[in-house]
Amino acid sequence: MARKPEKKPDVGTTGHEWDGIEELNNPLPRWWLWSFYATIVWALLYTVAYPAWPLISGATPGVLGYSSRAELAADIAAFDAENAPLEARLVSLELDQIADDPEVGNFARAGGAAVFRTVCAQCHGAGAGGAPGFPNLLDDDWLWGGDLNAIYTTIKNGIRDEADPDARFSQMPAFGEFLTRDEIRALTQHVLNISGQENDSTLAATGAELFADNCASCHGSAGTGDREQGAPNLTDAIWLWGNTPEAIATTITNARFGVMPSWQSRLTEAQIRQVAVFVHQQGGGE
């Protein structure tokens, strides 16, 4: 019984006609139209209330004064305020007591990790594994000492930072200026010898004499180094600039120095302490 009506409901036409095709007058549903008008009104009000129209520098601020940057600043301020007591405790504690306080210890490690990734990772690597010329902070070898206080001092004052009078300086002459090539080759063989690597024993014997005359004052007569002067231990398996004969010869000829900025001008006391605790905890701390 329900059959399709033959004619469209008679709603009239809009009066438009193209090639005999007429447009039926079926206006949009009222609710749809009103919703559409409401969105227009909403959009206008929105652009007045919130930042919207782009100008040459910036945008219209909006009467509500909303700013996502200000919101972020408020969030950061809120977090800082929340962390303030922890930070105060972190600064007041002795360095080696920090890890014993679980709350401050966690705060220090987490904060230290963040600071490390921001300012230290560029040279020492995101995992603190270092690179040739940039010490690996995970191993047990330390040029200037690996306890918390030594690490703290290194971070605070830097290495070879001319601007900081307390910065640590290591001095090694460029022996290429006053030793011959053969002498340097002999020295290299001696250094290979004391670190337990393959070497030419006759050359190494010559090198031993040269070592006692030129190098022992800093590296020690056995070559075990001196942390007071930042002289590396030459007998162990860790080589900052490489352990091949070529790398060692280059080091002796030209001398090589690492440089690290003094961070006290850029980091707060609490941040320096955080990084120190973080680095110390990474497996190499003494």
């Binding site: 009506p5 690597g125 995992g127 995970l138 905890q281």
Partner: protein
């Protein structure tokens, strides 16, 4: 020439108001009982207490979203054990299949929340506005002071029930007494108020105004459930061979007339507003109230009960011929229902076994890959690992860590002299661990050495393991 105007078919019909009449009988009683028990379970469960020790919540059933735990009496489910919940959902689905294939839409008619709350709302409506006839009269009345008073009172009671419903739901997600106190004091989390508001609104409108429209238009189950039914399924049906031709009750027995006296009792009590005498219909939720209503009438006119009853399509021919139908159990025990029961039971058994053999220690190891390995000053090679230990018990436990390889590798734990770790109760603990190979060990110069890490509870001896590897220094 006249043309008959036929209205174009509409997608949706305007709702015909339904005023179900009160009915008494065994199915109605069963429905009251099921309503009482299900509502009681729903409202009371969050208030049951269960002592789990000092560090864990005391609520017997608690979905602790904040701490990612699901507590159910003595069972505690961690996120990685969500297969328990999945298994229960599958069992619920199969149970629905089983009941549907045996007895039709009994879930819809008796246990579905929509049915239960609609029933409760109709009960309130009848209490305030009177039974069917009074309600029809009130519906057609003009808006008078009395009508306003009755309507407002009814809506108020509905709203009260709806608030209680929404409120009861949030209690499953937080400590119930604390949450109630907080909510009354206006200190509870916003999400709690929003949840209560949303559930109140849905309960109020679905139970009070939408009612059977939900079952007909909104709910997908009727379509799915129909696929679960077959000709052996017992469903509510009208025995037209006995009832037809229907007619008014006459005092003198009329041989031409069937038992149906067209009293409309079955139609008047139907909450779905259908006439069961028109045959099986999609809207029918097999709540069986029409059976009660018809039986009552049959008793009154001294006719045998069962003009409307639970009936299977396979019996129809036999019943028409006058032979008794097959036994009910023969309809229920069929290959199909037996298969459902077996699968259902197998999953249940599997879950039970899983529940008893599951370990309450869990360990996972993540090897630190930045850098892959570290050379120490004596030439030893060291790898670092993050060991994640889960203690699923209510008290702190000490775990001893050991490794299992063919090679001699030395194990050490960050921040601890020994090889044991204390893991706080009911928590996950992250521990940095190192494995070192001496220069002369084979592992030091092998690219990759497989190893197994064992974790043992020092007191109970429970063990768990995780596999990892050691990366040597390869030049």
């Amino acid at each position: 020439m006249s043309q008959i105007e036929t209205p174009e078919p509409q997608l949706y019909a305007k709702r015909e108001p339904i005023f179900p009449r009160r009915v008494k009988g065994r199915f109605r009683n069963l429905k009251w009982w099921i309503m009482g028990v299900t509502l009681a379970i729903y409202y009371i469960t969050p208030w049951l207490r269960w002592d789990r020790g000092p560090n864990l919540p005391d609520q017997a059933v608690l979905v602790d979203l904040a701490n990612r735990r699901f507590f159910m009496f003595w069972i505690e489910i961690w996120p990685q054990e969500f297969y328990f919940v999945a298994g229960l959902l599958i069992m619920a689905g199969l149970g629905l299949f089983l009941f549907t294939s045996a007895l039709g839409r009994v879930w819809c008619g008796y246990a579905c929340p929509q049915t239960v709350w609609t029933d409760l709302f109709i009960l309130v409506e009848r209490w305030i506005e009177g039974d069917r006839n009074a309600r029809v009269r009130l519906w057609n009345d003009r808006w008078s002071l009395r009508k306003w008073r009755l309507r407002l009172f009814k809506w108020a009671v509905w709203l009260l029930i709806a608030v209680a419903t929404g409120g009861a739901w949030v209690f499953y997600f937080a400590d119930a007494p604390t949450l109630l106190a907080d909510m009354l004091a206006g200190q509870a989390a916003l999400v709690a108020y929003i949840s209560v508001a949303v559930l109140t609104a849905t309960t109020f409108f679905f139970g009070g105004f939408f009612r059977e429209q939900i079952c007909i238009y909104a709910c997908p189950w009727p379509r799915i459930q129909a696929a679960m039914m077959d000709e052996d399924t017992l469903t509510v049906a009208y025995r037209d061979w006995r009832g037809e031709p229907r007619g008014k009750l006459r005092t003198i027995d009329n041989a031409d007339q069937g038992d149906c006296i067209d009293c409309m009792a079955c139609v008047n009590v139907c909450p779905m507003g259908i006439d069961i005498r028109n045959g099986q219909q999609m809207e029918c939720i097999t709540c069986a109230l029409c059976i009660d209503a018809c039986d009552e009438v049959m008793d009154r006119i001294d006719k045998p009960r069962g003009l409307i009853g639970y009936l299977a399509a396979t019996d129809e021919a036999a019943e028409r011929a006058g032979t008794p139908p097959r036994k009910v159990w023969k309809h229920i025990f069929r290959p199909r229902t037996v298969a459902y029961t077996l699968i259902w039971g197998a999953i249940g058994l599997g879950l039970l076994v899983a529940l008893f053999i599951r370990s309450d220690i869990d360990v996972s190891v993540a090897q630190i890959r930045n850098p892959v390995s570290v050379v120490l000053s004596d030439g030893a090679v060291r790898n670092a690992y993050d060991v994640r230990l889960k203690n699923m018990q209510g008290e702190a436990r000490t775990f001893r860590i050991s490794i299992d390889t063919d090679d001699v590798l030395r194990l050490s734990i960050e921040g601890s002299e020994g090889l044991s770790v204390v893991v706080p109760p009911d928590s996950t603990y992250n521990q940095r661990m190192y494995i070192t190979a001496r220069p002369q060990d084979a592992a030091a110069s092998t690219a990759r050495t497989a190893l197994r890490l064992w974790v043992e509870d020092v007191q109970s001896g429970d063990r768990a393991y995780a596999d990892s590897a050691f990366n040597g220094r390869v030049q």
